[in-house]
């Protein structure tokens, strides 16, 4: 009994020590990790071409070669047809009904029996980083347009010595994936496709002027096919539950939900399952 206890305790201590000390030893050191960067794999004009990119990156298309499909133009804004109100042929109507008792609305108890919109408790939020330059116009010229994934990998490998720090991407883990020897790191093209896919679903009232300067990060986890499973907003603690900020956060959450399914490049499903961070910060720009 006592011996068994000692053995058990030793075993657990060993396990604990392994957890504390062992795991980090297996992590690659800073020197071993290539600089965080994204590789320019394709020069993409964010606009017309992104639709085709997102289409090409859909997992249902097993063909890994990103075909430059002719793209439909981005959706044109369709202003709602003004519906003329019914003309009231009243020239000298009776005095306007005095806003009587109902005007200050009397709440009754049977209307809102459901809780209003979920207001998550404030979370410990990091101050979101300053928006970084977007990968729309890569500073470095692309040596040549990669034709296949194998040449893409080779090109990426060759270019790891000249990192571009304009975009934050996950560290590359050189592990084989379901789709073969494809890096699970999202490329600039992948990120641009995701960006456009979500931006066209982001509806911001009044051209976004009221929300300028606001920032919210939304962590989105999806299935392997890009179906959005969870949406978690990391609020700016300085704005808290200001109604305008609340509306801004809701608009961002709504955008990613209605962007479901997200375009998932083949072989990179696990990146999506682990979570993607979307940082929303309006600059008064809209997709026209």
């Amino acid at each position: 009994m006592k011996r068994a206890f000692i053995l058990s305790a030793l075993f657990h201590l060993a396990l604990l020590a392994l957890l504390i000390l062992g795991v980090p030893l297996h992590l690659p050191t800073r020197d071993e990790i290539p600089e965080e960067s994204f590789e320019i794999v394709d020069l993409v004009e964010i606009g017309d071409e992104n639709t085709s990119l997102s289409e090409a990156l859909r997992p249902k298309e097993k063909e890994p070669e990103p075909e430059p499909v002719p793209t439909p133009p981005p959706p044109q804004p369709q202003p709602p047809k003004p519906e003329p109100p019914k003309p009231e042929p009243v020239v000298t109507p009776p005095a306007r009904p005095q806003p009587p008792e109902p005007a200050p609305p009397q709440e009754t108890d049977d209307a809102p029996d459901e809780a209003p919109v979920v207001q998550a408790p404030p979370k410990p939020v990091r101050k979101p980083p300053e928006p970084k330059p977007q990968p729309q116009k890569p500073a470095q010229p692309t040596p040549e347009k990669p034709k296949t994934e194998s040449s893409l990998d080779a090109w990426m490998k060759a270019n790891q010595e000249t990192p571009d720090k304009t975009q934050e991407t996950p560290r590359e883990v050189p592990s084989p994936t379901r789709g073969g020897r494809i890096s699970e790191k999202l490329t600039a093209t992948d990120l641009a496709a995701l960006k456009y896919h979500v931006e066209k679903e982001w509806r911001l009232p009044g051209d976004g002027y009221a929300y300028e300067g606001m920032v919210v990060e939304v962590i989105v986890k999806t299935t392997a096919t890009g179906e959005v499973l969870s949406v978690e907003a990391l609020r700016d603690p300085t704005l808290g539950y200001d109604p305008l900020y609340q509306a801004f956060v809701s608009s961002a959450e709504r955008a990613v939900r209605f962007a479901s399914p997200l375009p998932v490049p083949p072989g990179k499903e696990s990146v999506y399952e682990n979570g993607i961070r979307f940082q929303f910060s309006p600059r008064g720009l809209s997709l026209r």
Binding site: A4, I20, P85, P99, P102, V117, R277, L285, S286
Partner: protein, 453 residues
Amino acid sequence: MIHTRRFRDRLPIRMLCVLLALCATAVLLPAGARTALAQDMPTVYIDRHSAEALPIAVPAFAGGADPLAAQTGSDIANVITNDLNGSGDFRVIDRNAYVETLPSMEAKPNFPGWRALSARALVQGEVSAQPDGRLKVAFRLWDTGTGEQIVGRSLMTQQDNWRRVAHIIADEIYKAITGEAGYFDSRIVYVAESGPKNNRVKRLAIMDQDGANNRILTSGDSLVLTPRFSPTSQEITYLSYYNNTPRVYLFNIETGRREMLGDFPGMTFAPRFSPDGNKIVLSMAKDGRTDIWVMDLRSRQSRKLTDTPYIDTSPSYSPDGQRIVFNSDRSGAQQLYIMNADGSNQQRISFGSGRYATPVWSPRGDFIAFTKMKGGRFYIGVMRPDGGDERILSEGYLVEGPSWSPNGRVLTFFRQEAGAGVRVCTIDLTGRVERVVPTPTEASDPAWSPILP
């Protein structure tokens, strides 16, 4: 048996050890691995948004077996639809495409069906007659993406007040989605015009912001021009003629009482209230020069703010009452200027080509609306108070006299095309939705009221 007992004896110790290991893992991992995991997430920067309005579904409010309640429910949904569509921020989906009718407030909506219709939000409502003759109007606003209720409310009203209840509900929806106050429960005062051009009758009139409940306020014995609402009371200031001399008047909508403002030596015009409603700033012309004056409505004392040999006119206060925007021809052509409320620190803010007139400071303080004249055309536009970010929202043969909605997101102005009558219009700040407000006669010089009390 013995084995079982030994196992049971060991169980607490085992559990203790496992707990220890878990605790250590939980304490040690967050600092390292968890942060690393969060940092390793790819980040997508979203800084552009769709220019499309938010699709929303507003089915007819349920009325049960009561035909009057059912009709009122349908009418309320129509008014809400009209309000939301006019804001430019919403696009109410055609009712013919709806996936279901919602027979009562208790019916659970089919959210996947509404999502398939691209509806981001859904309004569910019900109208029921009460034993005392009043109506109970209840509504819920749903987020179709999450299936959660965003806002829900129930209102009691007289039967003939249903239209106002509809505006109040539209304001609630607007606020819940945009985070800003609505403007639908408000009115517009304007000049109702009738008769031939050489004998025009111009009377003061008032209507709901959507054109309903139109009412004439003055007899038409004398011309009425440039009415402006008080931001704090049911009073209007406007220009009328007294012995063929234009003078500024104060008119109380509720009592019908009219009063001429001040005893100025020259003609006075272009009046506008201060944000606190206690002062009126106006122009006075005498001996070929026009200056800006301010009058305290409590003491009736007036003071000159500008003193130049030029034409300084169309003053409008900033919402904090600290500054005034006006136009002046001191640079050779009409341009916009701002100054402190005491007349000091006058600075030009418009530098574009063409002439600028009738500046109006937004109640939010973020924009100044103006009329612009260039190349024989008129334009309605906005710019930042420092003169930047100028944008034209509308143009025409004659478009003039912008006035802000109480939330500073929509403008009303009047439009006249060559050979056609003059009409009051509204346009949202994005310039997407311009619409004519229906009036029984020709209409000009609109001014928006504050939200009704």
